[in-house]
């Protein structure tokens, strides 16, 4: 069984907004074990879309589309699906009821004069929109299913999970089974060194368990093995033993796929440790990534984003003399920032960041990409100086990732 995702919208092809529905749908299909054949991002053009539907229906069993079912003139998915399936677009009483309910949820009233949301192709099924106004569409023929969702991400997600899933599961039951993954996360060793020097046979060794891929990340390289079946504990044990025998062993810091902020939160909760940040160059990014995780308030107290030097002095108590003598980006300054935030927040652990994210502000001694980092607990703070490459946003992310990695080590060694 194979699926195809068709993302529709001119605005995606001229780069005004980046599609996030494709990646989300890919993950959703993967969690069910449905193989994804392709993600296509296509313009609002009749011939192009008709051809894409045709090819999709030929190659795949399940086609999910995003976008083009709204009320404006460029929304043509519905009429093109009618044309493609040879069905007439007709007013449907059942659909009108769904639309009325959709509107009611937003305290609004719908009448047929407002738009033609109640028109659907004959033999299509309209579905409620749990988080929006336009109904979704489903069409089943020859054991194949095509489902059209709105382009607004929150509407698409809710519709796929709540409305499309039952139809998909019913039609394709027994045709797919979940897969699982063993993820070997390494740090401080380049991809090449892993597969050429440390373990030249690793790729082949791992391939006996499933499809292998290697993904360089900020902290290091993730090696991923995709395994058939929901339970990979057996394979995990075998792979762990295999890695233990190699020199890669000491570089492995994690055996699953949780993002660093989630790991930090979970392990801090487990050890009942609170933490706080003092951020300059990362500008609140580290705090924002931590607070993306539900439950972070149990252990995360806050972050003092002191972007100006005055703020560093007034809020964190960094000495003006230190700033003058060593500069804002220095181990001396971050040390005082960390001391300050531990003091003000009363946290068990703290990380302080000061660096140069660029594009300007660099010098020969402290080029763009320099990061001064302080981490530790009261009266036990360590500082480091790093140099990274990248543009401003990338550097902020790297800085923040390195700080969180330090924090994880602190939590683990507490």
């Amino acid at each position: 069984m194979k699926a195809k995702i068709i993302i529709i919208g001119n605005e995606l092809l001229y780069g005004r907004i980046a599609d996030t529905n494709g990646p989300w749908l890919a993950k959703w299909l993967d969690s069910r074990g449905i193989e994804l054949d392709e993600i296509r991002v296509l313009p609002d053009e009749r011939e192009v879309l008709l051809k894409a539907f045709e090819e999709g229906f030929k190659d795949c069993d399940l086609i999910l589309t995003s976008g083009g079912i709204g009320p404006t003139k460029d929304d043509m998915t519905k009429s093109l699906l009618a044309e493609f399936t040879g069905k007439k677009l007709v007013p449907c009483e059942k659909t009108a009821k769904i639309v009325i309910e959709n509107y009611k949820y937003y305290d609004r009233q719908w009448t047929p004069e407002l738009n033609s949301y109640h028109h659907i192709p004959e033999d299509f099924i309209a579905t409620p929109n749990p988080k929006g106004l336009a109904p979704g569409l489903i069409f089943i023929k020859d054991e194949k299913l095509i489902a059209a969702a709105p382009g607004v991400p929150r509407e698409l997600k809710a519709m796929v999970e709540e409305e499309f899933a039952p139809y998909i599961d019913k039609l394709f039951k027994n045709k797919y089974a979940p897969k699982s993954r063993v993820v070997i996360r390494t740090a401080r060793v380049p991809e090449e060194k892993i597969f050429k020097e440390l373990c030249p046979t690793l790729w082949d060794d791992l391939s006996q368990f499933g499809l292998v891929s290697s993904l360089p990340q900020v902290i290091g390289v993730d090696i991923v093995v995709t395994i058939n079946g929901e339970d990979s504990s057996h394979e995990l044990e075998k792979i762990k033993k295999l890695i233990e025998k190699t020199d890669l062993h000491e570089y492995v810091w994690q055996w699953d796929n949780s993002p660093l902020p989630e790991l930090v939160i979970n392990e801090a909760i487990e050890k009942n440790l609170t933490f706080a940040f003092a951020e300059s160059c990362t500008g609140g990014l580290t705090a924002s990534r931590i607070t993306d995780i539900p439950g972070s308030s149990k252990v995360f107290l806050g972050s003092l984003v002191t972007y100006s030097n005055d703020a560093k002095t007034n809020i964190l108590g960094v000495k003006q003399q230190t700033l003058k003598k060593f500069g804002a980006v220095s181990e001396e300054t971050v040390n005082e920032m960390a001391t300050g935030v531990l003091d003000k927040m009363g946290a068990d652990l703290a990380v302080a960041f000061s660096g140069i994210a660029g594009p300007s502000g660099g010098s020969e001694i402290k080029p763009v990409g320099t990061l001064a980092l302080a981490s530790g607990k009261k009266k036990d703070i360590k500082t480091d100086l790093y140099h990274f490459a990248g543009d401003r946003e990338r550097l902020k992310l790297r800085f923040s990732e390195v700080g969180l990695f330090k924090l994880l080590q602190l939590i683990r060694n507490y």
Copy 2:
């Protein structure tokens, strides 16, 4: 002239990482005025990729690929391009020199034993990698060009801008011309109301200037008109006059496409106003979005991310009594937060956020999605209470966007 983007990598199809190269390349092509036919995200599979190259070469003049040119076993773009073009993969001295330079940049030494980066298909051109190790590839035939870049976003961006651009511009000179866009940004009015009630003829009226699209955003609906030619000032004037005659006029707050953080920074710099935040529910996101903009340090002093109640009291001076009586998410608390941050930071303007981003923490009176916002200057702070829908990340973004929108109004009215 048409272009096609082919993004290669299994990890993108099982949703482990979301492709960002497609959207970036789309924007890059658009800035040159090159029409993008499609973005395809495809797996590392021989038949699939060969077919995609073939179709791309048939339909389009320019094909850009991302991914699959690294050193690991699943990197097959290079050998498949050789197969597709009927060329042999051979060691190339010129390429070896490029690889040596790529490695030198990272203080590393390359030898042919390390990998086969120096093997390229005959008649292909290898390009330097300004931010990585693997060289890029270019092949020109029958007035068509195919260019293969690495999948790592920073490497791809640098390679496309610095290495591919001259080849593309040379081959297709005079075949494309930049387009421009008039963007009408509205707030507080639904898409439907705009096109059905306020200005039923707007879509058609705008269509005489170019392709029209309508994009619902957090703050409101953006209406975009794509115009041929680099200079759209003439069309902008005409469209402005057209809108002035409609009831939509009062809902328009911006006539270009700058993201809110950029607008806030630019207009604050223009008026020489400093600002700071006190963030609870947004957890540093607002500060992080502001500090993504180079030059933000000129006007942004910092943000006190007080996630815990103790931090609100200790850092911002919010009275314990206020927290007890009205709760952390209340107009009273954000008022004190804003007063506190203005005081501590000495900023001209401040915005304070406290809300419930969910999934837990909501109640009947204050459900998930509630935001208390305070904004203003010393002794002149206004508060508002909002209710939004969405998941945690979406809500953080909406909260932050609403706060920045308020800040923009404050700057404009100062």
